[in-house]
């Protein structure tokens, strides 16, 4: 005789959500407390006075771009050639601040133009006055790195 399925062998059951809600509450509370919603990035930087590779003349780039941000928020660019064929400064520019802030738009345009004119540009040295704010230097580094991959901090 076949037993009816509505008896003790029934496959239907009610899912008890209360323990699941308890687990979820604890997990969510823990995740909220430990979560960090800041997205941190890393900029690689070297300094001009450190490292043996900086003093190896065979590995030094022939063309370097010096970018200086003054405490008055001016940006000064100078393209230097350390090769034997040409020497001294090839190009020199000054960008005045715009609305009290350094002219980063102008800096991007100038660096891009220099890079196009001198594809052999190897490195950029970024420096500032003692009172220059760190955020201005970081911004300048971010812009310069788009066109010149090797950016080092100078002024040491």
């Amino acid at each position: 005789m076949i037993q009816s399925e509505s008896g003790s062998g029934s496959q239907d059951f009610d899912l008890n959500l209360a323990p699941i809600i308890d687990c979820f509450t604890v997990l969510i509370t823990f995740m909220l407390v430990s979560a960090s919603f800041l997205s941190i990035g890393i900029l690689d930087a070297g300094i001009s006075a450190a490292g043996a590779e900086q003093t190896d003349p065979s590995r030094q780039p022939k063309l370097t771009l010096a970018v200086e941000i003054t405490s008055g928020r001016e940006i000064r660019l100078q393209l230097n050639d350390t090769g034997k064929a040409r020497s001294g400064s090839l190009d020199s520019r000054k960008l005045d601040p715009v609305k009290g802030e350094p002219d980063f738009g102008g800096l991007q345009g100038r660096v891009e133009e220099i890079r196009k004119r001198y594809p052999e540009l190897g490195a950029a040295i970024l420096s500032g006055s003692d009172g220059t704010e760190y955020k201005d230097l970081v911004r300048a580094m971010e812009i310069t790195r788009r066109f010149v991959p090797n950016v080092i901090l100078g002024g040491f």
């Binding site: 959500l17 209360a18 699941i20 809600i21 979820f24 509450t25 997990l27 969510i28 995740m31 909220l32 430990s34 979560a35 960090s36 919603f37 800041l38 997205s39 941190i40 990035g41 890393i42 900029l43 690689d44 930087a45 070297g46 300094i47 006075a49 450190a50 490292g51 420096s127 500032g128 006055s129 003692d130 009172g131 220059t132 704010e133 760190y134 955020k135 230097l137 970081v138 911004r139 580094m141 971010e142 901090l153 002024g155 040491f156």
Partner: protein, 172 residues
């Protein structure tokens, strides 16, 4: 005539509901599931969890993801910390005059980094698989003057930390 029993406001009275109210937790389970998935996705999974101290404003920039394990120094308005331990006291980003050395470094910071360096060398001597690391992670406040940054980097470079990783907040 048949009169309906009127309620307080003069309308027809609704039939009384059962005093027991069942809580609909199915919807709550759905919401919790979505919240949990979102928090799991946004939680840090890298080898290093970089969490700046309270009050430290990192500069904004577009940069690669922070997935580097290195000695961490934090440059704040009133202190410089190495691996979470305050080593130098500042006053509005200015160190004490007696802490400056002629070469531009900071004595207290240099000695703290020297200890870190010696620790790394000791570990490398005991464990051949571990190498001395020249990387250093710099978390500096965006308002810090370049003179202080230079002093900190010079102090680090003197102790062999020459590969600088500057921490920034990724902008939109």
């Amino acid at each position: 005539m048949r009169f309906q029993k009127l309620g307080r406001l003069g309308g027809a009275q609704k039939p009384r509901t059962s005093p027991e109210m069942s809580l609909q937790i199915t919807s709550m389970a759905d919401v919790f599931t979505i919240l949990l998935v979102f928090l799991l996705k946004s939680s840090a999974t890298g080898a290093l969890n970089v969490t700046p101290s309270a009050g430290l404003l990192l500069p904004q920039a577009q940069a690669s993801e922070a997935n580097v394990e290195a000695v961490k120094i934090e440059i704040q308005e009133t202190t410089i910390q190495v691996e979470g331990v305050p080593v130098t006291t500042l006053s509005s980003f200015l160190p004490d005059g007696s802490d400056r050395v002629q070469d531009g470094s900071l004595r207290s910071l240099a000695s703290a980094l020297e200890r870190e360096r010696k620790r790394q060398i000791l570990i490398a001597e005991k464990n051949p698989g571990v190498k001395v690391d020249s990387r250093i992670l710099v978390l500096a406040d965006q308002r810090a003057p370049y003179s202080l940054i230079k002093s900190a980097l010079a102090s680090a470079a003197l102790q062999g930390f020459t590969d600088f990783k500057l921490a920034v907040v990724q902008g939109d």
